[in-house]
């Protein structure tokens, strides 16, 4: 699902002007305001009263009213919006309706699963994609290239939750090497914790690695076709030498962009995988928040994820501008 957000590869970088940073900063702020409004409005119209949900079938109307008061749900929407924003600005996300602890605390707990999982998955995907992509580019049209490209096509086509089910079937139910899910907590030891994250990381990494390998390959092929690489080869370098000495470094720019985007996707988009392996991460926190109508958790965490994605995009753009001065003048 998250993969539909992948930017079309053919889209050119946006025009970048000299007061680039300031300009991007203002638009960043505006984006955040717009995002907060959208999130707030969507949450407002979600049917289902959190108080009624928490109190269940036998609740009396006055009890529900008392709880709504206690949760601060009776204030007018505009007031609640500004309270929420003011809280966010001070790092106060509010108190979770169901867990009765500050949302910030919940997030702080959960991020130590989502973040390591994202890093683990990204690490795996880079570890697979780089060598595979380089080999495919270096031996273009060879049997290796063709089979690698075929495999990555398959990797992109496999739904990650289905792949996760197959991993559970194979490694948990049949071989019993890994537990089928859950997270023992970091206090159980680093290796134990990493073991619990291994199957989810593999499930997440496979499609990402396939995408990355393809980007790596095509980016390398593009740079190999550039004039300066051609002239290097004309001076007697072999294709392999040219690739290592000249092409690789320059080919990394689009690859890094994809990695940046993938990271924010992995952080926010692991929701299904977190559910398959019932990892108590951020995505699952929001998913449960939606079904339990813990709306304060939902809006604050979604906002946080949006901020993270916007920030990463901003940093990637910035890194682009710094890494490639041509882009700043290029029109």
């Amino acid at each position: 699902m998250g993969r539909i957000t992948a930017r079309p590869i053919l889209a050119p970088a946006r025009p970048i002007v000299f007061n680039f940073v300031l300009y991007r900063f203002v638009s960043l702020a505006l984006s955040l305001v717009a995002a907060s409004v959208v999130i707030f409005v969507v949450i407002e119209v979600v049917p289902g009263d959190p108080a009624a949900f928490m109190l269940g079938l036998n609740a009396q109307p006055d009890t529900v009213a008392a709880l709504r008061d206690q949760l601060g749900l009776n204030a007018p929407p505009l007031e609640r919006y500004f309270q929420w924003i003011a809280g966010l600005a001070q790092g106060q996300f509010g108190i979770s309706y169901t867990y009765k602890v500050p949302v910030a605390e919940l997030v702080a707990d959960r991020i130590w699963i989502s973040l390591p999982l994202a890093i683990y998955a990204l690490g795996l995907s880079i570890l697979i994609a780089f060598p595979v992509g380089i080999v495919a580019a270096a031996r273009r049209n060879s049997a290796a290239d063709v089979s690698i490209m075929g495999a990555t096509q398959l990797g992109v086509a496999v739904p990650n939750f289905w792949f996760a089910m197959l991993l559970v079937l194979g490694f948990s139910i049949t071989l019993r090497w890994f537990s089928a899910g859950g997270f023992p907590g970091w206090q159980a030891g680093f290796l134990e914790a990493m073991k619990a994250l291994t199957l989810p990381a593999i499930a997440l990494a496979l499609p990402q690695a396939s995408i990355l390998a393809r980007v790596m390959r095509s980016s390398l092929l593009d740079t190999l076709a550039e004039d300066y690489v051609r002239s290097a080869r004309a001076k007697g370098l072999t294709r392999g030498q040219a690739l290592w000495r000249h092409a690789l470094r320059n080919a990394l720019i689009p690859v890094l962009t994809i990695i940046g985007l993938q990271f924010s996707f992995l952080l926010a988009g692991a929701i299904i995988i977190e559910n398959v392996f019932f990892l108590p991460g951020l995505g699952r926190l929001v998913f449960q928040g939606i079904t339990q109508r813990d709306l304060i958790v939902v809006k604050s965490v979604v906002m946080l994820l949006v901020v993270a994605v916007i920030a990463v995009t901003f940093l990637v753009d910035l890194a682009y501008a710094i890494a490639d001065p041509r882009l700043r003048q290029h029109r």
């Binding site: 928490m54 609740a59 008392a66 867990y99 139910i173």
Partner: protein, 495 residues
């Protein structure tokens, strides 16, 4: 604080002992699997059953409590007297009862807990349990007198609910994250999203428990629950979420499968005031279109007992009325024709998340289609179900399991979501409330059972089974589920 350090020391010592002689040591820890994680650990402020499944009888206790058979037995109150008019209850509390923070539990705490639950700003999900209390008076530190505003034959039963536990004024506000009760286990830690750990309370006032520690692990995925059982990650799963895998687990000598009963009458609830469902012929047609055994087999893989009315089969007053609404599609079609719907009709079917509803709903939809009733299935979350179906009464059909014990009285409430309105039925319930002799009560209950079956108020499907799996060496788990609890106070390991 000293308490927990002592508990830790004992637990540590026990662990050491296990390490020294693993072959002979009796295990004194247990990992219990639960499907849902409790949203918090305060049983007095919310309806989530998962809270009680962790803390009921283990961490918190009330004046009375349920035993495994559902009978009400003494809890913190060792005895009580009821005045001749049935309005005054005098409870004598056990002496030497301490909260986990070391403070003594006395009549003041009982008064505080009950007054808090029935206060105006109370957020107790079962506030109705306390509705008849007129006053709570402290007679002396070991004695508390509760005066009712009217007779209530269920009062001792009501006080056994998890929502009526005794809490301390100093710690009540923090029970959501750090529960402090009087029970035989103390709260140790809650790793959110994964587990809650409790440990033996060395200062417990009653019979000490045989386990030193227990961990409740939350696994809401049926596949993972199965895998966790097979891998030994959990030792017991009292409400196992995947009945389809039970035969496989039962065939494994390491495990015992415990199939018991619950208080959950699973029904196809019908909106009795909405046309055409206000026509009893249509409701009867729906009842005869339902093949209960097919639903039990297809949705619950055979676990469940068919019911013909809103009453638990394990209750002595139960009568089998399934023949009143026997599966008979031809009769169903004839009834529809008689009601003027020979060409069929279309109804909405709202399905909340549990498997019995989602799978059962697909089967019922197919069965209804066979007699000419089309259904539009809408899968809803609980929050939405509460708002739209339960409170808003905007539905035609829905499937839900009514898990409260002895809840046939809901049919006497005009505004209850299925909106059955019968003066005759209300009369039966009124009589029941004022009748005290057991035989008279049984007769009235059976009248009530018959009345709603004959009026085809709802489609009565099956009594939800409690399907549990445990390591074969574990003993003392509850077989049935008179209330939602994982009472570990009597649990121990073989050898």
């Amino acid at each position: 604080m000293t308490v927990s350090i002592k508990a830790l020391a004992i637990a540590g010592f026990a662990a050491l002992a296990v390490a020294v002689s693993p072959a002979f040591a009796q295990r004194t820890d247990i990992n219990v699997g639960m499907v849902l994680e409790p949203p918090n650990l305060d049983p007095t402020a919310g309806a989530a059953a998962a809270v009680d499944e962790v803390v009921y009888a283990n961490v918190f206790e009330g004046l009375t409590r349920f035993d495994p058979s559902g009978a009400v037995i003494p809890g913190l109150a060792e005895s009580w007297e009821i005045s001749a008019d049935g309005l005054a209850y005098t409870f004598h509390l056990h002496s030497g009862v301490k909260f986990h923070d070391g403070s003594a539990m006395d009549a003041e705490d009982v008064k505080f807990s009950l007054d808090r639950a029935r206060a105006e700003d109370s957020v107790n999900a079962q506030k109705a349990l306390f509705a008849d209390i007129a006053s709570v008076d402290v007679v002396d530190p070991q004695t508390v007198k509760i005066t009712l505003s009217r007779q209530n034959g269920n009062f001792l039963f009501n006080m056994a609910w998890g929502d009526a536990v005794v809490v301390a004024p100093e710690t009540a506000a923090n029970n959501a994250t750090n529960p402090v009760g009087t029970g035989p286990f103390t709260f140790v830690e809650w790793v959110q999203g994964d587990h809650v750990e409790i440990a033996k309370n060395p200062d417990y006032w009653g019979t000490p428990v045989r386990l030193d520690s227990a961990i409740f692990k939350f696994i809401d995925d049926p596949t993972a629950a199965f895998a966790a059982m097979m891998a030994g990650d959990v030792d017991a799963f009292p409400n196992f979420p995947a009945p389809e895998t039970l035969p496989q687990l039962g065939a494994d000598p390491r495990f015992s499968v415990i199939v018991g009963s619950t208080e959950g009458e699973t029904i196809l609830a019908i909106n009795n005031v909405k046309a055409p469902l206000d026509n009893v012929l249509v409701r009867e047609a729906i009842a005869h279109a339902i093949n209960r055994q097919e639903i039990i087999d297809g949705a619950m893989f055979g676990y469940g007992t068919p019911i013909g009315t809103h009453f638990a089969p394990h209750n002595p007053a139960y009568i089998d009325l399934t023949s009143t609404s026997a599966y008979d599609p031809e009769k169903s079609k004839a009834l529809l024709a008689e009601a003027g719907y020979a060409s069929g009709l279309t109804l909405r079917l709202a399905l909340p998340p549990p498997t019995y509803a989602r799978r059962g709903g697909e089967i019922i939809a197919a069965q209804l289609r066979a007699v000419g009733i089309e259904t539009e299935i809408a899968n809803v979350e609980w929050a939405q179900w509460l708002e739209q179906v339960f409170t808003g009464k905007d539905f035609d059909l829905t499937i839900v399991s009514h898990t409260e014990p002895m809840d046939i009285g809901i049919y006497a409430r005009d505004d209850y979501y299925f909106q059955y309105k019968s003066d005759a039925f209300k009369k039966i319930i009124e009589d029941l409330n004022t009748t005290t002799d057991p035989e008279g009560r049984t007769a009235l209950l059976q009248d009530a059972e018959r009345k709603i079956a004959d009026d085809f108020v709802n489609g009565y499907l099956f009594q939800l089974a409690k399907t549990g799996v445990a390591n074969a060496k574990i003993h003392g788990m509850w077989e049935n589920s008179p209330t939602q609890a994982n009472d570990l106070t009597a649990v121990y390991w073989d050898e």
